[in-house]
Subunit: 342 residues, 4 copies
């Protein structure tokens, strides 16, 4: 397999500006574990983006950011309200349950977004020793099905959380795609709305490796320093994560990359919608297109241009666009769909 | 702080050949999570090095390699016999206990090396439900104090392990330094001697990020595929770890880098030994020199050229040499020592 | 509050024959932790009941039996398929997730009983490292809503489990009520149908404290000896659990107690059904009656005779009958319902 | 085996007054899980004994009391300073590490008692993310080798703990024996000295089953309600634990039982000391006698009257006295020793 395909935004390359940052960071010795100038610089970038109360902790990957971040807020008998299709519930091989020891409390959603009134029933468990005690609501922004929470909904969920002594966690593996979709800055759709901790994605937006946990609560930051180390997520040569993030988020690169991917997703969806046998099953608000294709054709297209099936029984596929996807890629896929459906 | 110092081999840079490999791996899309050509190539390199039975699992860092690797061999009531100064016991913030849930059973050593007869007393716990059941012996090679196990000792410990239904784990964060010290190949000092699983270090020998777990037991390999993902150690853009390891271990780079660091360590030790007030406290068999320095001078030297204190109460410092350390660095340190001790 | 009520079968007293057994076991010293003559005798009783392959492990309570038993079969990335209303999912404060570290995979049921074809979709996760791997199907018999699995269904689910390298776990907190409901012996509805491990209840059927884990798999039994101790469930003065169980299950006491409670449940249901405003919402197959009552009356009845609300929003109450409940209790409750509904 | 022996104080019977309390508690239905009149009464007894700030949580056994109690005070990266021979370190099959996930930090003691200055070196790990952070000091009172901490030492250790944001935990499986040894009340040797949480033993002093966790810190009490349930330690028919403890500690029974056992231990030690070949290896301050006996005789005596070897290699045996041991038992043992040593 060569060239580009639609399997995932983490199939993409590393952006040239990120590669350059890595090369530049490779001079002289640096104190390990984050006490280096690159990490210091990255911290300043994050304060600018997310506000003075925000503290950043670089980790290795998205599962690490979710697990380590939420662990700081949870004790053994706590539960996490999340969507049924959330990455923490479906795609982390039970990491939350095993490494944190907390129960996930999934709610059924039609579009990957939790509604505020879905949280309320869980509150009746408060104070009952037989039940897990809800302590976190976790939203994925953009969601796993390519939709985006609007700011009012996030603000309302934050309000419910804080009123009930809960934290609002945001899995932002694709937060940049959500921000450009909403036309807002990263701080405006997170801390400003009441998000308490954020898994900030880079790998799906042009970075080689590394994600960041951003927290707006000092009591969580204090625990995170230890939990990150214990949780196998403290990079010794941390400068090479910091330098990437300072480049991605210290310039407009995050925005340009995400904008490009989102636009191509919209283009792809528009073209697919014009093909009668194809159904777009979720609103295309970020960089993913979820489409139902007739089965025999589906498999033949997949052999030509790789992508994953999202729901094999329902013949729904997931088509992900990246910063390095091109209009030619989109057209080639559309052509393949047309060919096999005709 | 600038230039180079003696704090740790993970303060060093990334070797230029590794940077080049990273740049070369950055073309086209690749299936995530290891189903890419670079990982395939790296797997072949590891089969050549470690034999056909060996399976390799790339992870992010050394703590990850130790925890995830040992987890595959342990159930809740198992214990791990290790040295009192071992990294898993002292420097991973209790990760083994928290994430695996297993008890560490440390033995006191004079030089970081466990003696075979220190294992035997733990065997009397076998079958007694009140006691943790020893299941792994973990050796660090080279040890945390810069010494190296000879092959006979490793073979003898492996024999005891296998006779008693235990696994032999090797923390090889500095296994390359041990191999060149012994004048042997990596396979000859691990799987060939009966090691069942190895944390194979790269970061301390010129790599940017990533370590590898090598296992010689199919029952461990089967579990590792899941545990690595769950354990936050499965890199999505894995090609960028694989490409580094294929370069480091598919050529003589690992050997050259380690040889250089070891030789400088011996040179440093030789020069320090000639200074009457300095005592070298452990045999210098790898790339670390542990020296006792008189206190007021110690702190002043440290301000000039950075290194860590190993045992602050005993005035013992740790001086680590890297692939990118130079004879000039050594001479500068020796000069500083002489200056402040005169 | 005094007298008897309908809150739970664990509100009941200890059966006089059990109290007598406790008194009789109180002579002389006995080796702790199960190496005593009473435990030996109880083991023989269990071999008679459950077959020669069955091994019994006494523990303290039902949550302990479920957690410790399942832990023997699970490793970190395993999942447990269970019903949405199962005790392990709803009423153990997340013990499975926290102490075992495994994910629960609940399925929605209309009557507390899992259907065989609800298991199949989970099997598509097999081999995918991103998903928890299903390893146990857990059935509650009798269910939390007072229904009973028939033998064909249990046998079919066992077949699916074993074909797919999974274990069948049965939470039998009320297994005696299920057995008499089916008119079968305890062995006939467990090990004989393919159940691999059973949490055998005593506390809800006349015992003071203690439950038993019965396993039909030697590999589970071997692990259980250690896990029980580690899991805080190994009683030092074990003879006092063993003596109770030898009495309950070595005679027809378990059957008589359960039969009595089941019969009173049927009587209560029959009388309530004759009241127009009352709806019995689940088949009454064991010792519990689940009824929907009009709200203002519901609360007034509850003040007179205590019971729990099962679903407060839906005005459904749970009425549990015990071995020491009487026909007078039933009639008093029915009279109270009639009074407040008229 | 019949009659009485010296294996353990949990080989003993249940005291007749306790059996009577169990029989008396067996009337009518009672709300499960502790909302019953017996538990209410027991709570009052504990407030009298331990002060108004003290909160009591009944659990099933000593391991449960230690694990559940300490869990309330620990988060994942915390460590527990304890003695090398402590029950939590040696005799709970790694429960602290597995169920809490915390590291034990054992210190070597000559007589089972931790000295205040052994705690200080651990404090240098504070703030270093690579090391477990000490959060609890756990003392066993009376110790596992039959010695007793004097009040000054406990007070001094409490002072160090509180000055350094740590909790003082006391494993009081034999706290009654310590209290009568010191001639003090239970409150005077625990909360009054600064103990923050206590595992209060009953099983080794005449109770059938059950232990109590006593805490003097509201933040621990709040967590304990949930952790006890999740930790498989919440008894449904709790009245039967409460009734025992109200009897044992609401009267002088705890004192009489412990006094009797301690006195017999002193008598046994005195008689054994008069036999030249026997060496008493620890001060006899509670109800255990640790003696070195010549090997061939040791085994022959053991066949006649059962007891455990404490250190098989050093020929040291542990002889435990119980509330139901008699002077005749002591004389029979001494006679057997004399016989086999002559």
């Amino acid at each position: 397999m060569s060239g580009r395909f639609f399997a995932s935004d983490n199939s993409a390359t590393v952006h040239p500006a990120i590669m350059e940052a890595l090369n530049e960071a490779n001079r002289g010795h640096a104190i390990a574990y984050g006490e280096d100038e690159w990490t210091l610089a990255a911290n300043r970038v994050f304060k600018d983006l997310f506000g003075r109360r925000a503290e950043v902790f670089f980790v290795y990957n998205g599962t690490g950011a979710n697990v380590i971040g939420m662990q700081a807020a949870l004790t053994s008998y706590h539960g996490v309200i999340c969507s049924d299709v959330s990455h923490i519930n479906c795609d982390e091989c039970g990491a939350t349950e095993n490494y944190i020891g907390s129960k996930l409390l999934p709610v059924t959603t039609s579009d990957g977004c939790i509604a505020p009134d879905q949280i309320l029933p869980f509150l009746s468990a408060r104070g009952n020793v037989h039940h897990s005690q809800p302590k976190i609501v976790s939203l994925t922004q953009a969601t796993e099905v390519g939709t985006v929470y609007d700011s009012d909904r996030v603000r309302e969920i934050a309000r419910i959380c804080h009123k009930n002594d809960m934290y609002l966690h945001m899995d932002g593996a694709r937060i940049s795609n959500a921000a450009v979709s909403l036309g807002l800055d990263l701080g405006e759709i997170t801390g400003r709305l009441g998000v308490d901790m954020l898994s900030l994605g880079g790998t799906k937006n042009g970075v080689m490796f590394g994600e960041a946990i951003v927290v707006w609560r000092p009591e969580l930051a204090e625990k995170l320093t230890y939990i990150r180390k214990q949780g196998m997520q403290l990079a010794s040569k941390m400068r090479f994560i910091s330098a990437q993030f300072a480049t991605l988020f210290g310039t407009d690169l995050w925005r340009e990359n995400a904008l490009h991917a989102n636009e191509l997703a919209r283009e792809l969806a528009a073209r697919l919608r014009s093909i009668p046998a194809v159904e777009i099953v979720y609103p295309v608000e970020a960089n993913g297109v979820f489409a139902r294709l007739p089965r025999p054709a589906l498999s033949r297209i997949q052999e030509e241009i790789f992508f994953y099936e999202w729901d094999a029984e329902a013949d729904i596929v997931r088509l992900m666009l990246s910063f390095d996807s091109t209009m030619e890629d989109v057209e080639a896929l559309v052509a393949a769909v047309r060919k096999h459906l005709s």
